[in-house]
Subunit: 346 residues, 2 copies
């Protein structure tokens, strides 16, 4: 590391000061607006900067201020559209605050999590954005020990020391059920990936609760929850097929995520079942793919971009707090995105 080519020496602030015939600190003051500078002096400095093609060295600046202008984002897999959309929101907000987004893609590997946090800390990161549930829970202690603030997205904090931004999972499910209900459905199935995360548990639990509350029957064989597989599209496919093999067929299905919905869609289509005329389908997340499949997927949107942005704002507040701020769990409202995978029941 730290390679560098045989480059022309970069101009430093000292060079600029010399060229402009002023003191280095004056240049610094001018650049940082940390003192007022005569118009005439300003001019000279500006010219010198241009002439020398001067560029402030953030590394030196950061060393001096003991700060850092990088903002680490942890995701388990950047190729998952959910996380890439999140990353976009985080990057955008970070940029606005003058931070550079450093991407740590852990690939769902425990040991990488620790290594990457170590790297982030060595880079003097003042805070972390974590887009999923860390596999290695001991890391929370490590972070606390170094008093590094962090914010979680899309999952609930491991304990009351940490903050997070999550969508209102229960509300999302309610919106889905009520939407289908309005279309005349009451035979509704629920397909889910393994619920090892609280949001997933909440969705499932709320589905059952609201179905009962609305007076709809909740059939055991219509609540299909995967235990083994990890590929969400495959899960949806498997569960979709399984659902079709049931003697009673629901008129609609809600899934725990869009990826599962897409798998289910493929299962239905490949069995000759028409969507939405024979069965309606609503997903969860609203990833970009949802609008790409045919029929396009009606779904419950998690405003990922906004959540990414919001998380940065909260983190910045935590970082600048002179004392341990009270952690916050911010709940974001979900939103129904109506597309073409649902139809009224005949």
């Amino acid at each position: 590391m730290n390679l560098r080519r045989h480059d022309k020496p970069k101009a430093t602030m000292r060079d600029v000061a010399w060229e402009a015939g002023v003191a280095q600190s004056t240049v610094s003051h001018y650049l940082n607006k940390t003192a007022t500078v005569t118009p005439e002096t300003k001019r000279k400095i500006r010219e010198a900067i241009k002439k020398m093609d001067y560029r402030p060295n953030m590394v030196a600046r950061n060393l001096k201020t003991r700060g850092s202008s990088i903002l680490p984002l942890f995701v388990p897999d950047i190729t998952n559209p959910f996380y890439s959309e999140l990353a976009k929101g985080v990057a955008d907000a970070a940029r606005r605050k003058g931070f550079d987004l450093v991407l740590y893609d852990t690939g769902y590997q425990r040991n990488r999590e620790g290594d990457y946090i170590e790297m982030a800390l060595r880079q003097q990161a003042g805070g972390l954005v974590i887009g999923y549930n860390l596999l290695d829970e001991r890391l929370w202690d490590r972070l606390e020990q170094t008093s590094t603030p962090a914010i979680l997205i899309d999952v609930y904090p491991p304990n009351d020391l940490w903050s997070s931004v999550v969508v209102d999972n229960e509300e999302g499910i309610r919106i889905a059920v009520d939407y289908l209900s309005r279309l005349g459905h009451h035979d509704i199935a629920y397909l889910s990936e393994p619920p090892y995360l609280l949001p997933l548990i909440k969705r499932q639990r709320e589905f059952i609760r609201v179905m009962k509350e609305r007076g709809f029957e909740v059939r055991r064989e219509w609540i299909l929850v995967e235990k083994q597989q990890v590929n969400r599209v495959k899960i949806g496919f498997t569960l979709g097929k399984e659902l079709l093999s049931s003697p009673l067929r629901p008129t609609a299905v809600i899934t725990s995520s869009d990826l599962v919905a897409i798998g289910a869609l493929n299962a239905f289509l490949s069995s000759g079942i028409k969507v939405p005329s024979e069965i309606s389908l609503v997903g969860f997340d609203d990833i970009i793919l949802a609008s790409y499949v045919h029929p396009s997927l009606t779904t419950i949107r998690q405003p990922k971009f906004d959540m990414g942005q919001r998380s940065v704002e909260i983190l910045m507040k935590l970082m600048s707090a002179s004392d341990q701020e009270t952690p916050v769990v911010e709940i974001i409202p979900p939103q129904l995105i109506e597309r073409h995978s649902c139809a009224g029941v005949r």
Copy 2:
């Protein structure tokens, strides 16, 4: 920026040295293996490090060595699966070399490109990975001026000063045509997004050339190239519909990218045309979505992950070269991924 909380002071190398009862430089030597150290001294240092929870400060290190451990990656849109897969490859290779991947998502906005390059340079980045064609061509001069090496991916260099990693576009098209040909197709259409990039032009040109070479007729109305729209799925949809309205219908179609193929697929399906039984479809890129749609898409894979990795290796070489290295254009072979969107012609 440069926020920081009221944190407990981090241990420095000086603290460690003091604790271990040795000189700071000895600790440095131990850490960097830049001199041999007595086992006994090693032990003391190790213990001090552990006791104080010491972590090297990369910012200070980078200032001293005038290096940088960040590697900027420029993409136009990280939510585009093509770029997120690329990013994964780049991040992976960067990490292996001890670099942190900094993500610059320009959102296809000219002015951001300049701003972001400026930020990257201020961070003392020693080289850049650019995953697409910069919109603002003047930036190449700026980069040259600062003698910052860069490597392009998926596009050809603007001139012979720069390096890039690209797939063999012609070969990809040949593979597609020959594959369809083997299935008995010779009435093949080609649908393309606006060919403002050389790879796209090459694909189109090669399609025509190889069709002729194989003795297949090339019909004007079967070569549909979008001029206006930017959303590739919409483009595919529009072009797909247009193709269906033509009096003569081809038995197969090749598209300039998977996103276009997915749009075309939707167009066919929504017109009641069965894929692959009535029309075969092959895409280009092999983005993750290709395997998610129904029927899953047969396509020409660009090994994005590998290309990302390779680009980092080449860039590192350029960065460490003491003198202007001769630029390279590395051609990567594409690969046919057979799925379910193609069938033999009856």
